[in-house]
Structures are given as C-alpha cells and as structure tokens.
C-alpha cells in the first residue's frame, strides 16, 4: 500500500472545533462503512459485534501498538483557513459565531393546531422539563470557520477508501444544516508525513496530550489511553 492524500474542496463554512480537529480520517470512513452495512441489513437485527467487525476491517494499513492498533491515517489539515469573524473594520462582520434556536415553543406548536391547554399542561406538569435537562430550551452558539479545502494522508487501499467516501457529502459538525459542504474530492500520491494522535506509550508525542481512543469509534468513552500528536513512522 502507498500513501495517498485525499483533499475535499469545501464550499462554505465548516464547523470543526476543539478535539474533533484531531480525529483522523478513519473516523469518517468507519461512519460510511457502518451506514452502508446498516442499509444492507435493513430490517434485520444488528449487534455490537457486527459493528465492531466493520470498524476493525477498514481499508487502511493497521499498526500495532502496546495499547491497541491504530490505522495509518492523518488528522485533517486545512488550506487557506480563515476565522469566521471576517475582516476588521466591517461593523456587521464582527460575529465569529452562529446561533441556533432549539426551543419548545408553545406559539410554534399552536400554529399547527395543537391544543394550547395540552401544550401548557405538558410543560407545567413536568412531563417535559424545558427549564433544564435534555429538553431545555437552548440557543447553542457554534463557531464555524472558512477554509478552501481540507486534506488527509493515509496508507491504504485508495479505491476502497474512495468508494466509501463517495457517500460523504459534508464534513464536521452540523452537516445536516449544510455546514462543511464538499464540492469535490481529489486523490493523489504523496510523500507527506502521517501526523495523528499516537499512544504516548509507544511514540514521542507533543501537545495536545489527552485521553482518547486509538481506533474508531472516537466518540466512545471506553478504551481510552493517553495520546499525543506525533508523526507516524512507516
């Protein structure tokens, strides 16, 4: 297997904040592979073991470490990255954030003929606590950024990766609202280093150092070890 650089040309704001910027490409490919599997088994029972088998067999070179294996994939690298705040001196351009509105609104529900007394009773009797907890009325603030493209380097089966990534239309957070729109995908040979989060027990690493999973799914809480940023030596 040879190293490949995959570049997504972006068409608009993208939201990739904090530690999510250190998640390697195999996280996205694992998502695409699992979604395909779920579709192929529609209507059937799917188990944890089925999903683990999918994420254990992604088309990347596997590298054994003392903690767990890792895939030979880099973290994202952005080209022409700009903060969302825009140019200084433009009075209207000072906002570096977008605010979403997530709220249980009696006015909104009553527009669709839901009885007002039902809505009020639902809120007041505490069936749904909208003052706190999961149904809390909220206006979350997100911090998008602008970039012309984002790229990753990986060592693996380019055709298979390209096939799975064909299902991916957006990257980053709030993709369902159109953030992180991908205009085009470009695959090319590369000699660039694979820079990613590596287990601190096996590699010389630098900041950021934090507890993370060596392999997907990166959002899961178990199996975390101390990881830091470093170059993967081939």
């Amino acid at each position: 297997m040879a190293k490949t650089k995959v570049t997504f040309k972006l068409g608009g704001p993208v939201i990739m904040q904090a530690l999510s910027r250190f998640n390697p490409l195999d996280g996205i490919v694992a998502y695409a592979a699992v979604e395909r599997y779920k579709l192929s088994r529609s209507g059937e029972t799917i188990t944890d073991e089925d999903i683990i088998a999918i994420t254990d067999n992604l088309p990347f070179k596997k590298i054994a470490t003392s903690a767990d294996y890792i895939y030979a994939c880099s973290i994202p690298s952005f080209d022409c990255e700009l903060p969302y705040q825009g140019r200084a001196g433009r009075r209207y351009d000072h906002s570096g954030s977008v605010t979403l509105h997530k709220m249980i609104s009696t006015e909104r529900l009553s527009k669709f003929g839901i009885p007002m007394d039902y809505i009020i009773a639902g809120v007041r009797k505490g069936y749904i606590a909208s003052g706190s907890g999961p149904y809390k009325t909220a206006m979350p603030m997100l911090y998008p950024m602008l970039a012309r493209s984002v790229s990753w380097v990986f060592d693996g089966d380019r055709a298979a990766v390209s096939d799975l990534l064909a299902d991916i239309t957006h990257v980053g957070k709030k993709a369902a609202l159109g953030y992180g729109r991908i205009l085009d995908k470009i695959y090319e040979d590369t000699d660039d280093d694979i820079v990613r989060m590596l287990p601190a027990t096996d590699y010389v690493v630098s900041d950021p150092v934090y507890l993370a999973r060596p392999r997907p799914a990166y959002w899961m809480a178990d199996g975390k070890v101390i990881m830091g940023l470093g170059k993967l030596l081939s």
Partner: protein
C-alpha cells in the same frame, strides 16, 4: 407501520428560492451613531460567510445576507409533523392518544440526550432502527432521547445567486445558466426604518378603555414619565422607531437538500411539505406584515437523472405544482406518504 423492504436511493433536491417580499431574519442588534449624531438601534440580519475568488485570483471572505438552513429544516419538519398530527386529531382527541414527549419529538426532535435506562448498545441500535421504520419524521430529521437518533436529510446553506458566488464555483451551472448577468452580494441589503405605533395615543382607541382602564393607563403613564424625567426624556410615548436590515425582494438563493437512501414514503413526505408550504409561504420575522414571502422551484435528482420537479407559489400563486419526469416516481411517493398518514396510529409515532 414499518417500512423496510422498499428500494432506497439517495435523492438530491435542489433549486432556487426567490424572495417575493423583503426577508427579515434578525441575528443581532447594534447601537450605532447616525449622521445626525444621535444613537440609533439597528437590527442586523443574519449572514453566512464564504471564501470567494477575486478578479486576480485572490481569495477573500465575504458575508452574505442569507436564509437560515435551520429555519428551512425546521419549517419542513413542522409541516410533515403537522400532516401526522392532523390525521391523528381526526381520529381522536390528541392529548388522550399522543403523549407529550412524542409530540415534542415530532416537532422539535428533543433537546439533548436523556439519562440512559441501561439498555445495551445493540438494543438501543435496533430500537432506533425500528422507530425510524415507523416514524417518517424521526427517520428524515432525527431526534434525541436516550440516544441521538440521526436523521437522513441534509439541508444545505442557501447561497445568494450573485457575481461573487457564481464566479467562485459555489453554485451549480444548471442553476444559474439561464441568467445573463448577476448582482453583487452588496446589492441586496436594504436598511429600513420601521415604526411600532403607540395606539393609545389615538383618542379614538383611548376612548374605548373602561374607566378602570383609563385610570390604570394614566397611572402607568405617570410612573413612566417620573422614571424618565431623571433621564431628561420628556416624551413617554410607547411608539418605537427602529432600523432593520432586510434582504430585497427578487433576491434568489441556490438551495439543496439531500435525502440519503430515501424510501418512496420519505420522498412523499418532502413533497407533502412543499405542498403545505404553498398555503403559507413565509419564513423569518414580520410575516404578519408580509415580510418573508418565498417562491420555490426545485428538481428531484437521482444519480444523473431528474425524476421530477416542483414549484411552490410561482408568481405569488400560492399553489403547489409538480411534474413527474421519470415514470410516476413523484406521484407514487406522494401516494405512499398520503396512505401512510391516513393509516397512522399513535403507536407509530410513539417516541421511546
């Protein structure tokens, strides 16, 4: 009412949103000093930012007054959910058959993740898939309960058809090819003054108050005047003058939705939302004053072929029209959704 064995395809629904009246989607407010030296309040319209290419190939960011994709997604979700609740209401008293949590899941999708009841990941995954097979709103738009339930629909960020976005390749050619020239993104903003009139300053309206009402009004006026006297404000009128940024009517936005692995029923739900929005085609604020009227022209594309197109409120007609361009995919989808809605039961939309 499970749906598991239908053929599935990813459908791109893309087209143009035309503003038929000024759009007013406020994001923030700002106090600025006007030309007369006085401070004034301006309500700022929301903006989306893009990197565009200049004449000499240089890259720079621009802020374009835009339509919120969150608003569009919320509108489509509400309209599809309303089809379901309308059907349930026709069968029985809604509060007696639909619990409040399921109602919230239909219209809002919930808020965050609830405390787990301790079910395994396998059980949760299969529960979610079963719920999606029964509930078309959850399947299309997702929800959150004990776990996050991902929806399969992407609502793109609407992009203004203007010189900068067209030249930068942000809009597909088939969307703009019919136009010979474009405006600049700077041309669509209008700052206008709006007035909230103090109706109680009208003697005819004032005279309608009861004796008790007049006493209350005068007491409130005296209190307000005393409070403002310290600030050297003599006028205690309720009249409000404010300035707001709006987007000029006629502005066109490219917009797309992607429905991943859509079933006929799910496509039908999207079509039903287009149909419903024609009855009241408004988005954003001050719709009661006629702001935010929109007209929609979209095509449904599967792979490389266009399977149908729809139009909503063309020339202000308040009508929904569609064309089947590949057999009867569009009319079959509408039929599938209508049949689903007519037979729906509270159990189908029960959110667990």
């Amino acid at each position: 009412m499970n749906e598991t064995n239908e053929a599935r395809k990813t459908v791109m629904v893309k087209g143009v949103i035309t503003l038929m009246s000024p759009l007013f989607q406020v994001e923030t407010s700002e106090k600025v000093v006007g030309e007369d030296g006085k401070q004034k309040l301006i309500l700022r319209h929301r903006r989306d930012k893009f990197i565009v290419t200049g004449k000499n190939g240089e890259l720079y960011p621009i802020s374009i007054l835009g339509i919120s994709s969150n608003t569009l997604r919320g509108t489509f979700r509400d309209l599809i959910a309303a089809c379901i609740t309308d059907s349930l209401k026709a069968k029985a008293d809604l509060p007696s058959i639909l619990d409040y949590k399921s109602l919230i899941a239909l219209f809002m999708g919930g808020g965050g993740v609830e405390k787990s009841t301790g079910i395994t990941a396998t059980e949760a995954l299969n529960k979610i898939e079963a719920m999606k097979a029964r509930n078309v709103v959850v399947s299309l738009f997702g929800a959150s309960g004990e776990r996050i339930v991902a929806g399969k629909t992407v609502f793109g960020v609407p992009i203004l058809l203007c010189t900068e976005t067209v030249d930068s390749g942000l809009i597909p050619e088939e969307i703009y090819s019919q136009y010979k020239s474009f405006i600049s993104y700077n041309d669509v903003m209008r700052e206008q003054q709006l007035v909230r009139h103090d109706d109680l300053s009208d003697i005819n309206i004032m005279s309608m108050l009861s004796e008790k009402g007049i006493k209350e009004y005068l007491a409130a006026e005296a209190k307000t005047a005393a409070k403002k006297a310290g600030q050297d404000i003599k006028d205690s009128t309720r009249q409000t003058v404010f300035n707001a940024e709006t987007v000029a009517p006629g502005a066109k936005y490219y917009h797309y939705m992607i429905v991943k692995n859509a079933t006929s029923r799910e496509l039908g739900a999207i079509l039903a939302a287009f149909n419903k929005i024609a009855e009241y085609p408004y988005i954003g604020g001050m719709s009661a004053r006629g702001f935010g009227e929109i007209a929609l022209e979209y095509s449904f594309i599967e792979g490389d072929s266009t399977i149908g197109d729809v139009s909503v409120n063309r020339n202000g007609s308040r009508k929904f029209d569609y064309n089947d361009l590949d057999g009867t995919v569009i009319s079959d989808a509408l039929e599938s959704f209508n049949s689903y809605v007519s037979e729906i039961t509270p159990e189908d939309v029960q959110f667990e």
